[in-house]
């Protein structure tokens, strides 16, 4: 008789779904919030959730961190009974973390520059100023450009 709910499937996949919940929270902050610093924080949440998804793919049940035991002189003493988790996702995510901080710092520098030019870091206010500037340009140069610039 087949069970109505496949518990083994749910237990095996629930961690992916939890990562997706975190990921979507980050995406919501990026899309719905107008403050630029908060958008960067949302981007960070999204990023870290993707890292967790990658790392969880490399996890093996009963496995341990991929570091071989060494004796007192530093020689590796391999023990065939130990299961190691997959080290490849760890390496890829190490690179991704550093690239992530590079993009974050560039984004934050852009925010400082935007604040200098517009005197605000709220998306709505920046758009309002942009529209005003376009309207003024139209008033001044619109006729010369043949209607609306």
């Amino acid at each position: 008789m087949e069970q109505l709910i496949d518990w083994a499937f749910i237990v095996g996949h629930i961690n992916y779904w939890l990562f997706i919940v975190l990921m979507m929270t980050g995406l919501y902050v990026v899309v719905a919030r107008g403050n630029l610093v908060k958008k960067i924080v949302g981007l960070n949440i999204f990023q870290v959730s993707v890292f967790m998804l990658y790392i969880s793919i490399g996890k093996i049940t009963g496995g341990t961190a991929p570091i071989y035991p060494v004796d007192l002189t530093g020689h590796i003493e391999p023990d065939p009974s130990i299961v190691y988790s997959n080290p490849l996702p760890h390496v890829l995510i190490l690179t991704a973390i550093v690239v992530g901080i590079a993009t974050t710092s560039l984004g934050l520098a852009l925010i400082v520059r935007i604040r200098e030019a517009y005197d605000t870091i709220e998306e709505e206010e920046i758009l309002k100023i942009e529209r005003q500037m376009t309207a003024e340009d139209n008033k001044e140069y619109g006729a010369a450009m043949g209607g609306r610039a």
């Binding site: 919940v21 870290v48 490399g58 496995g63 080290p87 490849l88 995510i93 690179t95 200098e116």
Partner: protein
């Protein structure tokens, strides 16, 4: 069993922190909560056997990025202004994306499955090679510096480019401010 319990507690805390970030409008609190989020995720990385990643996340995510964000809010503003328009569109978009992603996970192998495709290809080779060719106990170090050294080179190029970008964006910040003050006076 204990491992699962730890995972669930960490997840609950991560989700609570993320929701608190959505709700809070004081940016100082938001930045601090983002540091908390990074530290909690570092703990989760330890639970998932990725000790090197946990170390880097704690240093970079909770350390450097918090400092950078604090610097930014010191130069800009401390509070988020409430949006005048509240549209359900972002929530719908996020919901649809989430459902699509969950649909995508259905074909994925179970969590912790030793027979999963990701565990079959080059990973056993790297584990063996670290023991026989490179003779470094930490396999992550072996792959990072030896097998995938070009990745690290590319990473350095990215960090260098970002550093130049930040310098170009921020250089002359103080000078421009002084010019403006003189114009105002």
């Amino acid at each position: 069993m204990i491992g699962t319990f730890v995972d669930i507690v960490l997840f609950a805390m991560l989700v609570l922190t993320a929701f608190a970030i959505v709700k809070t409008d004081r940016l100082f609190a938001v930045v601090m909560l983002s540091g908390v989020f990074s530290l909690l995720s570092a703990l989760l990385f330890v639970a998932l056997d990725a000790v090197d990643v946990a170390f880097t996340e704690a240093a970079v995510g909770a350390g450097i990025s918090t400092v950078l964000m604090l610097g930014t809010i010191a130069l800009t503003s401390r509070t988020e202004k409430k949006s005048s328009i509240s549209s359900p569109l972002p929530f719908i978009v996020v919901l649809i994306t989430g459902v699509a992603l969950v649909y995508g996970t259905i074909d994925m192998p179970n969590f912790g499955d030793a027979a999963a495709p990701a565990q079959q290809h080059v990973a056993p080779e790297y584990l063996k090679g670290s023991l026989e060719d490179v003779e470094i106990p930490n396999v992550v170090t072996t792959i990072l510096a030896s097998y995938r050294g070009y990745d690290t080179l590319g990473e350095t190029a990215v960090v260098f480019t970002a550093g130049i970008g930040v310098l170009l964006l921020l250089s002359g910040l103080g000078r421009r401010r002084k010019d403006e003050d003189e114009e105002d006076a």
